[in-house]
Amino acid sequence: MDNVKVDRINEFAFKIANTNGTGSASANGLIMQAIFRMGVPVSGKNLFPSNIQGLPTWYEIRVNKDGHTARTPAFDLIVAMNAETYARDIQELQPGGYLLYDSTWPLNPALKREDVHFLGVPLAQMSRDSFDKPREQILMKNIAYAGVLAALLDIDTKVIDQLLEEKYGAKQAMMKSNHLAFKLGYEYAQKNFKCPLPFHLKAMDATRDAILIDGNTALALGCVYAGATVAAWYPITPSTSLMDAFKGFCHRFRENKETGENNYCILQAEDELAAIGMVIGAGWSGARSFTCTSGPGISLMSELIGLAYYAEIPAVLVDVQRTGPSTGMPTRTQQGDILTCAYASHGDTKHILLFPANPEECFYFAAHAFDLAERFQTPVFIVSDLDIGMNDWLCPRLKWDDSYKPDRGRVLSADQLEKMEKFLRYSDEDQDGVTSRTFPGVHPKGAYFTRGSGHNKFGRYTELPHEYQEVVDRLSRKHAAAAKYAPAPIVHTEEGATVGVVSLGGCDGGVREAIEELKKQGIICDYLRVRAFPFADSVETFLRAHTKNFVIEQNRDGQLRTLLMAETGIEKERLKSLLAYGGFPLSSHHVVDGIRQQLGSQS
């Protein structure tokens, strides 16, 4: 029965099955943060429903001493707090794993399985006996299971004490309740079970220079550091927390505490059509401005994205992707907007996309995105996803280079305009196909008429083929030129590699773990992670260097593969798709199994 390897230190995974709206987030966060504070690499995935209260929700925690943080679907321990999902939760346990349940009630018949251990704790009973108010009884039941977990996994209670002190120091009543509930669970486990379990924690020193942060928060912080002042948006999961965080950071860093004046303007728009309009208006007027949204918002914004592209107005859009099409699964992750973003809007349009792989890149890509948007006077998309955006990731502490100067691109000052004979908006291109722009109100000579209708290089209305083409051809050159300014792909090559692996964004953790595993199994891979579109030349070079490239992404149709074929001219035979698109983050087993299977079936 005991297939669970004995005495596995800092290498296991567990999940907590609960009902949403019961306040389990603070208990789960407490456990996750405690493990992090013990210096042990940890990652958490919150799989939550599109609902306010009463539907199943899971929180998965993976502990991995080697720093692998991708999702794993194999669990050593499950805290089953939701009767509705008992049957499927128990199926996800490894043979020999442990199931912690609330023994206030008899063991539910759905939880029968011969090859797992059952650990019953009367959590509801304990909470009812110790707390009066119904809401507190529900909340403290969760803190009680955190206490049980601490005993089972050998979490340092001093760390827990410290965390509770930091969180509730000012609220003594809350602190007392939390302490009591935690102790109830902890002592019950100590008394009734053999603690710790064969897999458990041991303090390490691997997180000293790390933080736990979600991508939306990191990106919002990046926007503050990049100098963004105008932000317009319409609430949509999973991007909402980005604007909430931006607002919080602006409150902290951008408010004059004496005068109450704000060096920012956040506009909650009436819809996404208006949100992008506001961003474009502000960008045209000289402010760094952005919006955050998800796939459905990109669909709605597409009309004005084309205007910004054609009239050459900088804008930064953050697409925190969720599962499509249509409303899809708003609380599940996917990489399904790659093609939509690359060519958003009618007519010939092509955009600059950045693909962060984790919250750290979310932070650094913000300034990159604004620089690219202003240098190339065009919309730039930061294509993130729900997994990166809303889950806490282990990242190195974020740093800022104080010598950074924003790249505002070609903007004429009042002095420059004064000396000019005549300013013509779309003439005088540089080697990258970029022309000079002016901001309103600066100088009478800088005035020009911005339009989404056909225009010639002087900015005037035209319906003449050669005048029209001259402008759109320059836009095409300009887009291509952006490749050398955008974040370069990350390439790892291995001696003796036989296959190429290409991926992007949040797949990175799972892919890197899989490549290590495959190497142990004798399959050696080179790996290229695309970080931007237009593609750098090195992307095509990599693809040509391998007869077989596996393109790993999280959508049904292989959108990155399509984009690679369309934009590099690589033969489709060289590119094999490996896809995971059910809505959960990519795991290494998807890659290991997928590559083995495809190699096996071909050899």
Binding site: A232, F253, L267, I276, I280, G281, A282, K405, A447
Partner: protein, 351 residues
């Protein structure tokens, strides 16, 4: 929207304003609209209003959506930045531009199709935010560029050029703006330049969203017998229920006004709006009174004109957001970026 440069012949006798500019300095390219189009008269009114207000042309931002009316920003203020946005989306572009630079004067030109159909949502929310701008609806009840379909402002029963009667009720921008809380609402007629210029000047001076609905007949598709937006019908039915004079800052108030019916409103910039003749029982400072008056008189077929409602006390978008006095587009990067030391401190919150 063909660009035809307008010759800049300056008659030596032309009046110069305080900036030393003549009215020609406020013009733009030659209009390519149909001869006799009401919109060209509105353009002339705008040119005159800005000239008389001594506004530096380059400190104005002119915006529009799509349609005949939206072509007109090219015909005035050649030294101002212009933005011809997408159909119905001008209010959001104006909102963003204003967010970036609160110190410029914003004027949006729209039509009944652009504002009352495809752009109704954006217009409503610009009003709700009390965006500081002059918003002109050149209202002719018809889609001109697509050749004569009824717009949402066409009156019930009004006849198209082909004789077909409109079967839907009109969306009236004035009552719409009133119910949405607009802080300046006026109606005028492109054929009454004197009234129009006076209204436009007050609307520009107004702090907040100023909606000016101008009945501006379409000579090609909606100027026939049976149309309720023709020159003839409009002339026969308009009634100036509020007569006002706009007195710029520091100009002595010399206007005689009829005792009893007069009131003065001081605008944000110190200029004064004098109501010299107001219909009996009408109070342009009471939203309720204006609403009930308009509702009562709508059935009579009259078209009430004048500055119908004004409230100078409303907070505009920037006051509501407490935006800094320096335009956000001009705040230095060193002020905006918190720097590495603050970041390092912040990182401890994520441990």
């Amino acid at each position: 929207m063909t660009y035809i440069a307008k010759p800049r012949l300056i008659h030596p006798g032309l009046r110069k304003n305080k900036l030393g500019l003549t009215v020609r300095d406020y013009e733009g390219a030659l209009s390519t609209l149909c001869a006799g189009c009401g919109h060209d008269s509105v353009t002339t009114g705008i040119i005159q209003a800005f000239h008389e207000l001594d506004t530096p042309p380059h400190r104005v931002v002119k915006l529009s959506g799509i349609g005949c009316s939206s072509k007109t920003p090219t015909y005035f203020l050649r030294d101002a930045h212009g933005f011809n946005a997408a159909h119905g989306r001008m209010p959001s572009i104006a909102t963003g531009a204003s967010a970036a630079n609160k110190q410029l004067t914003y004027i949006g030109i729209s039509g009944d199709g652009d504002s009352l159909s495809i752009g109704l949502g954006q217009l409503a929310h610009a009003i709700r935010r009390n965006l500081d701008m002059l918003y002109v609806i050149e209202n002719n009840g018809v889609y001109g560029l697509t050749k004569g379909q009824f717009s949402a402002s066409a009156d019930l029963g009004s006849k198209s050029k082909r004789g077909e009667a409109n079967s839907y009720g009109a969306i009236d921008p004035v009552s719409l703006a009133l119910s949405l809380g607009a802080t300046f609402i006026a109606r005028s007629f492109s054929g009454d330049k004197r009234q129009l210029v006076s209204i436009l000047k007050a609307a520009i001076a107004h702090k907040g969203f100023a909606l000016v609905d101008v009945i501006s007949p379409c000579v090609t598709f909606n100027d026939h017998e049976g149309s309720t937006k023709s020159y003839r019908y409009t002339r026969e039915h308009l009634t100036e229920i509020v007569h006002s004079d706009f007195v710029p800052l520091k100009e002595e108030i010399t206007v005689d006004y009829e005792a009893g019916g007069a009131a003065a409103v001081t605008m944000h910039d110190g200029s004064v709006l004098l109501f010299t003749k107001v219909a009996e029982g009408y109070d342009p400072s009471s939203r309720e009174a204006v609403f009930s008056y308009l509702m009562k008189h709508q059935a009579s077929g009259k078209i009430p004109t004048g500055i119908l409602y004004v409230d100078e006390s409303g907070k505009d978008m920037h006051e509501l957001n407490r935006t800094a006095e320096t335009p956000l587009s001009e705040v230095g990067f060193e002020t905006l970026c918190p720097g590495s030391a603050k970041l390092d401190e912040l990182m401890d919150d994520f441990r």
